[in-house]
Each structure stands twice: as structure tokens, then as C-alpha cells.
Amino acid sequence: MPEKAPHVGLFVTCLVDVFRPGVGWAAVKLLRNAGCVVDVPRAQTCCGQPAYNTGDRADTRAIAEGVIAAFEPFDYVVAPSGSCAGMIKKHYPELFTGDAAWEPRAKALSAKTHELVSFLVDVMGMDTVDAAFAGTVTYHDSCSGLRELGIKEQPRTLLGSVDGLELREMEDTDVCCGFGGTFCVKYPDISNTMVTNKAGCASAAEADTLLAGDLGCLMNIAGKLKRQGSSMQVRHVAEVLAGRTDDPAIGEGN
């Protein structure tokens, strides 16, 4: 456990910034409750994955340099997203291999970058949150968070401490939902098969709410459930952990 209040730079993520800022507020609340001082550097836009996964290393590096510069001053960089945190942590160093100026900086940033829930549990040592949520919940393990960052138990640990919450695990929690960034629009029919399977597993779990740690997955799954006319609600896990569930669920109105 860190001694002085850790100074955290919140990496908002482009999707949270534009589509669901409430997730950012939930992250801020959780980090502050954990004893962190939180700042949100203005000079951030995106981690660069869309360019990276399209093979455009030049633009990816340019964006990454901006992120590295903006977040270097912090003790930690925390993102409410396994895929964005994974990008910074696992891929930024490789982007700058052999670059005498940027490689050490990328590695330094990588070492202090974390996904939100795993940061709370593994770094801040939390195993409970002070929140209530009366309902049944099922949890989707987003791919990058799971396979790049080892996030599996941590959200379940914290959800287990939420008053009134009952976790019902669905089949195939660790199977891709079909989002994959640009994949879902480049290969929509294959993506659809995958998200239909995921929606099927979610519905079969008979939970009121589906949670995950990545907004891309969540918008994808919510979009499918709504298209199917499902009443299942979809939220980011941070919303439940921070007790911020008054806002409408994803894709739902007032």
C-alpha cells in the first residue's frame, strides 16, 4: 500500500468521454474513496488502438507520444478499460523498441498504468466497496483485460462486497463479445454471430444487469440486447461499484 496519497492521472478513454461520462465520474469516486488524488490531463484523446490495429504505426506512435507526455508526471495512470490500459501497458513499449528517447519513457509509463478495478484491488489493496445494488448481475470478461492484464477475480471480489447484489455467472464469460474495435464494423456479420451468442448467454443467466469493464464491449452487447427487445440492463462495473446507478443504463432513456 502506497504511503502518501497516490497521484492518479485518469485516462478517460475516448468512448467514456464521448458516450458515457458517468463512468469517468464513477472511476473518480472510486479512486478518491481509495485515497487517491485524481487529475484528468486535458491532453488526452485516445490510446491509439484504432490506428494500431489498422496497421498505422506512425499515427499510433504520434498519439502514444502525446499520452506518454501528458501522463508522465503521475504516480499512476488508471483507465476504466482493460483494452486501453492494455494498449498503454503492453503495447506502448513495443511501439518504441529501439527508440533511445521514447522507449524508456514508454516503459516507465507502462509500469505505472493500470485498469481501474485491478488497480483498486491489486495496488490499493481493496477487497470491498461501500455500495449497494439490489439485483442480479452477470459479468462479461473483456478480452484484453482478461488475457493481457489478468483481470478476472478482481471485479468479482469487489462485486461480492456490494450490498444486495447477487452475481450469476453466465456460460462463456471469457468468450469475445465480437466488438474488437473496428472489427465489429469491418466484419459486421461475424461480429453479429459473436454478440448474438454473448447476448444468449447473458439472457440465459437470468440476471437483471450485465456488467463489464470495457465500454466498447458494453455498447456492443447493449446494442444487441436492445435490438432483441431484451429488458436486461447493461452498465459499466464501475457504476455499480461506485453506487452510481441512478443514471439510465446503456442505451436507455430517462
Binding site: C176, K224, K226, R227
Partner: protein, 472 residues
């Protein structure tokens, strides 16, 4: 085999609309994944063995020329011969020459992905030689004139009524009223039909899972016994092996063997793992009189020293495709050539060119399950990404993608401008949405809204709200 990889999207459309295929793929998904997990659970050293297997292969690749020199001499010492094929064409010609020199009329074949890669069967048939596939899965697809859809179970896309239909159509000498509804009946019939063919064959052709430098040995890993009958009974045994099959010692090969079957089918060891070294010895009473190994390059040597070298560690277990949600959705034929799934997505562009196979490394969500189960720890998503980089460099990426990406990147590299624009963007979207929380159709977002609703932004951007000093 005809290449249809450029038509990936229409292959996919057809695959998704095929109920037989979807049913078969459901079985694939459930069966193999559970079995591999069970094998993993039973062997505490599994992950450590994967690390060693990777290291053995890396060492071998770094010294490949030296191991091949030694291997070649060992094969000669054992009375065999090694032939070097630069291209698929070379390999076909060498094999045909050997068959013709022996006046071969029928040739039995054990399962060989290399033989598929070089399109051997057609070449032999055109020269008046009949190749008989003996692996049951390969036999079935040979009858149906279909390519394999999986590198371990070539007929995995078929249900048993389809197999029955093919057997009835081709085995016309057998009584029409015979029962063929059960799997056991189908297997028994194949066994009976192929029996005499093994005995009559002039030449037997197999692949090789490994070549062992220490002893000049080729190894095949099978369950049926067809590979062994193919290579033991005829006068001539031809092994088709691609360049990356080399392994230094018997100890090295046993490490890799320990992770092969477990990763492929969940078996701890295949029923038959056979080490073949040279031709019949003077004292032997059975076995082939001649033993030929055709070593095929066909692009592998070009992968050495490149960002794709790791792909040469592949031992063709199929675990990647068994765990791939894209493969589960579309099956093997959609990939359009010999090698499907994640390994196919990396290897195919090497062998037939990224311009033909471009879709394959792009049709991935990078979920990473393939890499997680690969016994040789091949970073498959990373290599698919390298292909996307090569495409981008060569301007093979579709124009619309390139343009939208360039536009997006312009903004993403300029935070102040980006924030201004994104605020404007969500205002516009909200107006367009007339206050609805999600939309069924959005201009330019057809790829998304074809199958899903698009949730609308909730209000302001987080950055705007943060600058304004507070929460909501």
C-alpha cells in the same frame, strides 16, 4: 486446391446461412475446448513444457541449416534420400517422378497438409495415378470433392447424415439397404473399403509432424493407423515435410509431443506416434524398400529473420482454431485455402500473398484466445497485426478505411481540437437522435446498426464536465 480467400466476405455470408455447418461448428466449439482444458488440468507441467517447446523451436530455427546438414546425412546413412523442393511445383514434380519411376498406379496417402498445400492429388491424377486418401476425414472429403476445413479433423464441418449420403453415393457395390446411420457403421465401412487399397498401393505418401536431426527420423502422429499402413505396406514411402518441421533430438521431440495431442484433441498422447528412419534393412521382413523425404520450402525460408519467424514454430495442433470465435462462426472453408483459423490467417498471406489473403488477418477481434492456448506460444494476434501493417504500408488497406483513419488520427493527435470537435459531434448526434437513448439506424454507421442499436451519448463529454468543475 482453388483459392477463394479473396472472396472471404461472400464465403462468410454463405457459412453463416448454412444450418448444417452452424450445427457442426457448435460441436467443435464445445468438444475440443473442454478436452484440452481437461488435459491441461491433468498435467501440472503443461505451461512449463510450452515454454520449453518454444525455446527448442527457437533454437532449432536459429541453427536450421546446421541441423538439416546433419539430418540429411543421417537419412542417407539409413538408406533413405532427401530431396529439396523450393516451390510447390518442385515438390509435386519430385513426388510424381518417384511414383512414375516405380510405375505406380495407386498411391495411398496419410494425412498431409503439405500435400494439400502443393495440390498433389490433382497433379498425380492428371498423370494417371490414383491417390487414395486413407485418413477417414480426408477420405470423406475426397469423396465429396471438398477441401479440408480443419487441419486435424478435415471433415469436422460435416454431420453424419452428410457422410452417409456420400458413402451411399460412392460405395455403390455395397447393398443399398445396409444400415449407415451410426458412426460405427460408417467407420466400419471405410475400414473395409480401404483395407485392400493399403495392400495394393505401389507408393505410400505421408506427411511428417517432425524431422529429428539426431537420428535422421521422420515422425507421424496419428490415431487411426492409416498413416502406418500407408508407410509400411507399399514398396516406396515418400515423406512430405515442410522446412520448419526440424527438431534436434529425441528428447526435444518428446517435449513437443507432450503438448501436441493435448492441445489438439485433449488426448495425452496419440494412439500411434511412429518414428521412421530410412528404408527396409536387410534383415527386415516388411517395410518400404525406398524411403524418400521431400523437404519443402515454399516461402518458409523467407520468413526466417522477419517479424513472422515465430510462425515457424507452429506444430499444426489446431488449438488456435478450436478456440477461435471467428472460426466457430464461419468454419474452415471460409478462409479459402488450406490453412484456416488464426494460424491460417498468419500463414496464408505468407504463402499466397497478402493481396489475395488480406481479409484473413483482418477478420479478427484480437481476443487473444489463440495465443493463450498455443502450445508453442506463438503471438498470433501480433502477427496478424504485422500483416495489417504491411497492408497499410503497401496501401492495400481499403481506401475508405485509410481515409477515415487519417481523418480521425488528425484529430486524435490534437487534443484541443479533438475535444472541441467531439463536443460538437455529440451535440449533433443528440439532435439527430431527437432525444432517443439509442438509434436503430445512423448514417455512416451501417456496419454497426445492421445488427445492433447504437446507444447515444448521454450529454456532455467527460472532459467538458471536468473542466466545468464538477459532477453533472
Amino acid at each position: 486446391m482453388d483459392i477463394t480467400s479473396p472472396a472471404f466476405k461472400s464465403n462468410v455470408k454463405r457459412a453463416l446461412a448454412d444450418p448444417q455447418l452452424q450445427r457442426a461448428m457448435g460441436n467443435v466449439k464445445r468438444g475440443f475446448i473442454k478436452k484440452r482444458q481437461a488435459a491441461f488440468d491433468k498435467l501440472p507441467e503443461f505451461d512449463a513444457l510450452r515454454d520449453q517447446a518454444r525455446d527448442i523451436k527457437n533454437h532449432t530455427l536459429a541453427h536450421l541449416d546446421l541441423y538439416y546438414e546433419i539430418y540429411e546425412q543421417k537419412v542417407r546413412d539409413a538408406g533413405g534420400e532427401v530431396h529439396w523442393a523450393s516451390t510447390a511445383e518442385d515438390a509435386r514434380d519430385i513426388i510424381l517422378q518417384i511414383c512414375q519411376a516405380h510405375g505406380a498406379r495407386t498411391v495411398t496417402k496419410g494425412k498431409s497438409m503439405i500435400a494439400e498445400e502443393i495440390a498433389l492429388n490433382d497433379h498425380l491424377e492428371q498423370a494417371g495415378i490414383t491417390p487414395v486418401e486413407t485418413d477417414l476425414g480426408e477420405y470423406i472429403i475426397q469423396l465429396r470433392n471438398e477441401p479440408p476445413s480443419h487441419i486435424i479433423g478435415p471433415a469436422i464441418h460435416l454431420n453424419r447424415d452428410q457422410v452417409e449420403e456420400s458413402f451411399r453415393a460412392v460405395h455403390t457395390d455395397l447393398p443399398d439397404d445396409r444400415p449407415l446411420g451410426e458412426v460405427s457403421e460408417l467407420v466400419d465401412e471405410a475400414r473395409a473399403i480401404l483395407r485392400q487399397k493399403y495392400i495394393d498401393a505401389d507408393v505410400g505418401i505421408t506427411g511428417a509432424n517432425y524431422l529429428v536431426a539426431e537420428t535422421g527420423t521422420s515422425i507421424i502422429v496419428t490415431n487411426e493407423g492409416n498413416g502406418d499402413l500407408t508407410q509400411t505396406l507399399p514398396k516406396v514411402h515418400i515423406v512430405c515435410a515442410s522446412l520448419e518441421k526440424m527438431v534436434p533430438t529425441l528428447e526435444d521431440v518428446s517435449t513437443i509431443l507432450r503438448v501436441l495431442a493435448r492441445s489438439a484433441t485433449g488426448q495425452e498422447f496419440s494412439t500411434y506416434t511412429t518414428l521412421s528412419t530410412g528404408a527396409r534393412r536387410t534383415e527386415d521382413v516388411d517395410g518400404p524398400e525406398e524411403y524418400h523425404v521431400v523437404v519443402l520450402d515454399n516461402g518458409r525460408s523467407d520468413m526466417l529473420g522477419t517479424e513472422f519467424q515465430d510462425m515457424l514454430r507452429c506444430i499444426r495442433c489446431g488449438a488456435c482454431m478450436n478456440h477461435c470465435p471467428v472460426y466457430h462462426a464461419v468454419g474452415g472453408h471460409a478462409y479459402g485455402w488450406v490453412y484456416p483459423g488464426p494460424m491460417g490467417s498468419v500463414l496464408t498471406p505468407t504463402l499466397i500473398g497478402i493481396d489475395q489473403a488480406g481479409h484473413l488477418p483482418n477478420a479478427s477481434s484480437f481476443c487473444g484466445r489463440c495465443e493463450a492456448v498455443c502450445p508453442m506460444r506463438i503471438p498470433l494476434p501480433k502477427m496478424m497485426r504485422h500483416w495489417r501493417e504491411r497492408e497499410f504500408e503497401r496501401h492495400l488497406t481499403p481506401r475508405t478505411v485509410r481515409t477515415s483513419l487519417a481523418l480521425w488520427a488528425y484529430f486524435a493527435r490534437r487534443p484541443a481540437l479533438y475535444h472541441l470537435t467531439s463536443s460538437m459531434f455529440i451535440r449533433a448526434l443528440k439532435l439527430f437522435a431527437f432525444g432517443r437513448a439509442r438509434l436503430k439506424s445512423v448514417p455512416l454507421a451501417g456496419g454497426w446498426t445492421r445488427h445492433r442499436d447504437l446507444p447515444m451519448p448521454t450529454g456532455q463529454t467527460f472532459q467538458e464536465m471536468w473542466r466545468a468543475g464538477g459532477d453533472e
